[in-house]
């Protein structure tokens, strides 16, 4: 073998070829690099163009109508004789709905993650985990459909009992903020569960072992050691859950009733997402422009959530 290799080098030298890669190889290398660069720029280009597009389309309506009249007015009458484009209630509905969904979903998700990472026997965990993953794969329209067929009638029964004989309450038939909150809470479960579980699994075994060695019980160890140690990961999970809930349109549109109201549990509400989804089809002129403004505000919210996420991750690294 050695002899043949030496022979090869000698032959190469004799023929005057260098040991550098052949030209064809170099061309392939350069081409591959170009392809990677172009691909990387494609997503950059998408982000930049979407941002510019949203701002370019969202700003004109604000100029025309005024920040105060859009952001701090609660009167949404886009097609009336004297139109009014106040989206305060729409913003509040999105924020309240997301907040309540996270408040409801995160504890359940976190405890599920603890169960999967720490408590469940291997076999049981192996059965529950795919179920959680499946939950993530269910299209949002299916969540919406279930909400519509199952949750709304239950809500209507509660509503009728709670507001019996009320002269002021507008009955919604169960399509209200609370329905949207329940559906959103269910939808953020898989995201929060799987990321929290990974975070919990990443907690070093010695930490937990030391805690146990000092006499702490299993449960004490989980709540005093494992969860605090996994906090950056868990916070990431929550922030991603917030993003998911804030951006969901289809399921919310199906269960929340869709009227613009103050976000109280039994009021029919409209979110930022559903305002766009349900009105874009027939909107025109200023109405259409304001829907772009709504989109821009939603976009800003999502960016804010992402920036928060990055801040947390950076702190976690340090």
């Amino acid at each position: 073998m050695d002899v043949s290799l030496q022979q090869f080098y000698q032959e190469m030298k004799a023929s005057g070829q260098s040991l550098r890669p052949r030209i064809s190889v170099r061309i392939v290398e350069a081409a591959a690099q170009a392809v990677f660069t172009v691909c990387a720029f494609a997503s950059l280009l998408a982000v930049v163009s979407i941002t510019l597009y949203m701002i370019a389309n969202g700003i004109p309506a604000i100029w025309q109508i005024g920040v105060k009249e859009i952001l701090f007015s609660a009167l949404w009458k886009p097609v009336s004789e004297e139109p009014s484009f106040g989206i305060l209630y729409i913003i509040l509905s999105s924020v309240t709905g997301t907040f309540l969904a996270v408040l409801l979903g995160v504890p359940v998700a976190l405890l599920t993650a603890v169960f999967l990472a720490e408590i469940a026997p291997k076999r049981l965990a192996a059965a529950v985990r795919p179920a959680v993953e499946l939950l993530a794969g269910i299209p949002s329209v299916v969540y919406g459909l279930l909400g519509l067929m199952v949750l709304n009638p239950v809500m209507y029964r509660w509503e009728q009992r709670l507001f019996k004989g009320s002269q002021t309450h507008q009955f919604t038939g169960g399509a209200n903020l609370l329905s949207a909150v329940f559906v959103l809470a269910a939808m953020i479960l898989p995201t929060v569960i799987s990321i929290s579980e990974s975070a919990l699994r990443a907690v070093p075994e010695q930490l937990k072992a030391s805690s146990m060695a000092l006499g702490a019980s299993h449960i004490q160890t989980i709540f005093r050691v494992a969860i605090p140690a996994a906090r950056p990961g868990i916070v990431t999970a929550v922030v991603l859950g917030v993003g998911r809930a804030l951006g969901e349109a289809m399921a919310v549109n199906m269960v929340s009733g869709g009227s613009v109201n103050l976000p109280l549990p039994f009021h029919s509400v409209r979110f930022l997402t559903t305002a766009i989804v349900s009105e874009m089809g027939y909107a025109e002129g200023l109405h259409r422009q304001v829907l772009f403004t709504v989109g821009m505000i939603l976009f800003l919210f999502i960016m804010l959530v992402n920036m928060l996420l990055h801040a947390i991750l950076r702190r976690g690294d340090g």
Partner: protein
């Protein structure tokens, strides 16, 4: 004598008949001229000739339609049966909403814009021309458990403006009223509110973005009231009579029924300026076959086109 009498009478009779026929023909020509085109008789080909475009326009085999979601069912039916009749033709339909449809036509992205509302001045000024192809009546619906068969216009307005909050107040059972409607900007909603004179006064408990969603919500919610077009009615809900007039096609045709809206197909410029495939499509819709199709879709054939 007999012969003479007959011979004497015949010329006069003939003349009279001839003049009556002539008069009728003139009337027909004038009235058809005023109405734009006579519909409902003859084949698409006859009509196409009377429009006079086939050889003028460039040969093309596609028609792109875009627009109203409430016209979805009708647009699909029209597209399919048109393609059955002319296999060489391709019709694509998009459902983007009335305004988006008109916009698409004016921008040249579609040949025909479907709209369930009349054109706005601005759109007309940009060259959009409206053709009423069918009439769609709006039915007021309740869930099947509701025992109220008919509403007066005042009662209906009261229900939607929020002054009637329980069915008990207008003679029904003790169930709260759940008002279901369409989203702001919907053609059905603006027609409904305008016809009742309650524009911008409605307080909706549910604002849904499609007629199908309204049907489903009303069917599933005791005490709900909603409005949808006749075309998509089925027996999961009850259609109410308005002022005692049943929600039936005949009552719309006679004008007795209050709530109806036009189905409009919009072109950029007059029909005879359109390409061959589009002219052919309109000729088909205005033929006897087209009228049958419109009736089959649960819609009403307009008497004339202007």
């Amino acid at each position: 004598m007999n012969n003479n009498e007959i011979a004497g009478m015949n010329p006069g009779m003939n003349q009279r008949i001839r003049s009556i026929l002539l008069l009728a023909a003139i009337t027909a020509v004038i009235s058809s001229g005023a109405a734009g085109c006579v519909r409902g008789n003859g084949t698409p080909e006859d009509l196409l000739e009377s429009v006079g475009g086939e050889n003028k326009a460039a040969l093309d085999s596609t028609v792109i339609m875009a627009g109203s979601t409430s016209m979805e069912q009708f647009a699909n039916m029209a597209a399919e049966s048109f393609m059955d009749r002319y296999p060489e033709m391709t019709v694509t339909v998009q459902f983007t909403g009335s305004s988006a449809g008109v916009e698409a036509v004016l921008a040249g992205r579609a040949d025909i814009g479907n709209s369930s509302r009349d054109l706005k001045e601005k759109e007309r000024a940009s060259g959009a021309v409206a053709h009423v192809v069918a009439m769609d009546a709006i039915a007021v619906i309740t869930d099947r458990g509701n025992k109220i068969p008919s509403l007066t216009v005042e009662q209906l307005s009261g229900l939607y403006t929020g002054s009637v909050r329980n069915w008990q107040e207008i003679g029904g059972s003790d169930i709260p009223v759940v008002t279901v409607g369409r989203e702001a900007g919907s053609g059905t909603r603006s027609t409904f509110e305008e016809l009742l004179g309650i524009r911008d006064l409605c307080s909706y408990a549910n604002e849904l973005d499609s007629a199908g969603a309204v049907m489903a919500r009303v069917a599933a919610t005791p005490g709900a009231i909603g409005y949808v077009s006749f075309g998509i009615l089925d027996d999961t809900v009850c259609a109410l009579a308005i002022d005692g007039i049943e929600a039936e096609v005949e009552n719309v045709e006679t004008g007795a029924y209050l709530l109806w809206q036009p189905y409009i197909m919009v072109t950029d410029g007059e029909i005879n300026e359109q390409k061959d495939s589009v002219q052919r499509f309109f000729a088909y819709l205005w033929s006897e076959e087209g009228s049958q199709l419109i009736r089959k879709a649960g819609l009403i054939v307009p008497k004339s086109v202007d």
